[in-house]
Amino acid sequence: MAKKVLNVEDDADIRTFVTTVLEENGYTPIMAIDGAEGMEKVKKERPDLIILDILMPRESGIKMYHELKLDPSFKDIPIVMLSGVSKRTFLRSQAALTEFGDETVPEPQAYLEKPVEPEDLAETLKKILG
């Protein structure tokens, strides 16, 4: 059975791009347009991997990532960050959330900065999901 990959992304063009890459590589794409819808889809669909943008409406990828990694039911789902926000900022933001009393969370399985080449995205997914 094809593995399910949830893509949380507000930009329609990038959603189309990621969907195409996923389908061409034999994965089942699931889409969410912001972090709030992303959390709903995670609970409903239990994806095998999540591709996560950061700056979106309603809930950012930074908050969603933190919530997932602190939730025992979802903390083991691999996450690939795909964003225009730098990795350095992402790591600092997670550290800042920890300072405010949350537990430390692990780094994501991969961090890709936009724009990403289709081959690089496919290869990253293959490395993680096999």
Partner: protein, 292 residues
């Protein structure tokens, strides 16, 4: 009341990073969530005779907005704040209202918005339009002020214009929620010229005493919450006196109340708060009487 989530509306031509940074004073009042909104005017991408919908132009403008927001958001993320962004195409006021509702913000921040002269004559400014239609507090920056710069902490010295209506109670509640960000509060009540024109001297003194008593009561409420609050009574035209008081007390922001009015009522009877929001060089915070 609380001020934990703010909506920062920017067209990148009028509200800059310095305005955003100046709002960080609100962190001391519990603000930890920023919503960015950029609205691309429809006439930049559509409604052009013979050209159809300019999809490429839309993509380019959205990309520019996205890059700018990411740059702003990175600083806030690194401080542990939550940041979300909306980039939309359409009319600015309805988009502000809908995003404010979707995100459940506690404060809308926008620059003063003008329209073409003829349109403004009939429909008023976009700022007035927003103020008429929202039940959320709105902070209006005047990006055309002489210095062109936003002060480091606009919440440092507030001038509260109170008229003893329901709006005044709302203003007071809202300012109490800003505790931590505010250093000094000057509470001003303006007695209208007409109110004292036809009464005896004795009655003028009575009026003065009763207003001073009310001002002192408000000061006591603020002082109990450790605000440095001072009462001031002025006589004259509300708009003029508020501006005079602001200059005398080195105010950094005006805080005024407003009732929702129809466009016609607004046009003919006017509102000092809306007028100051349109004219003052200082940032103006308008707290609607209907705010929850």
């Amino acid at each position: 009341m609380k001020v934990s989530k703010i909506l920062f509306v920017s067209e990148f031509e009028e509200l800059w990073l310095d305005a955003l940074q100046s709002l960080m004073a609100l962190r001391k009042a519990g603000m930890n969530n920023v919503v960015f909104l950029h609205v691309i005017s429809r006439d930049k991408v559509a409604m052009r005779r013979g050209a159809g919908y300019l999809k490429q132009e839309e993509r380019k403008l959205k990309e520019i907005a996205d890059i700018r927001f990411i740059d702003w958001a990175e600083t806030l993320f690194e401080e542990g704040m939550e940041v979300v962004a909306h980039i939309a195409i359409g009319n600015i006021v309805p988009k502000i209202l809908s995003v404010a509702e979707i995100e459940g913000v506690d404060l809308i921040i926008t620059a003063r918005r003008k329209r073409a002269k003829l349109e403004e004559l009939y429909a008023g400014s976009e700022t007035s339009d927003l103020l008429r239609r929202t039940v959320k507090p709105v902070l209006i920056y005047n990006y055309l002020s002489q210095s062109g710069k936003v002060g480091e902490n606009p919440f440092e010295r507030l001038l509260l214009g109170l008229d003893w209506s329901v709006s005044s109670e709302k203003i007071l509640d809202y300012v109490l929620a800003l505790k931590g960000a505010v250093k000094r509060v000057d509470i001003v009540h303006v007695v209208g010229e007409k109110d004292v024109a036809k009464i005896s001297r004795m009655e003028v003194h009575k009026l003065e005493r009763s207003n001073k008593k009310r001002l002192d009561e408000v000061c006591d409420i603020l002082a109990n919450e450790r605000f440095d609050a001072r009462p001031h009574l002025y006589i004259g035209k509300v708009e003029e006196q508020i501006q005079k008081a602001a200059s005398e007390h080195r105010t950094t922001m005006l805080v005024l109340g407003a009732k929702r009015r129809s466009i016609w009522k607004e046009k003919w009877s006017g509102s000092a708060a809306h007028s100051l929001a349109d004219k003052s060089d200082l940032p103006v915070l308008i707290v609607p009487a209907e705010v929850k």
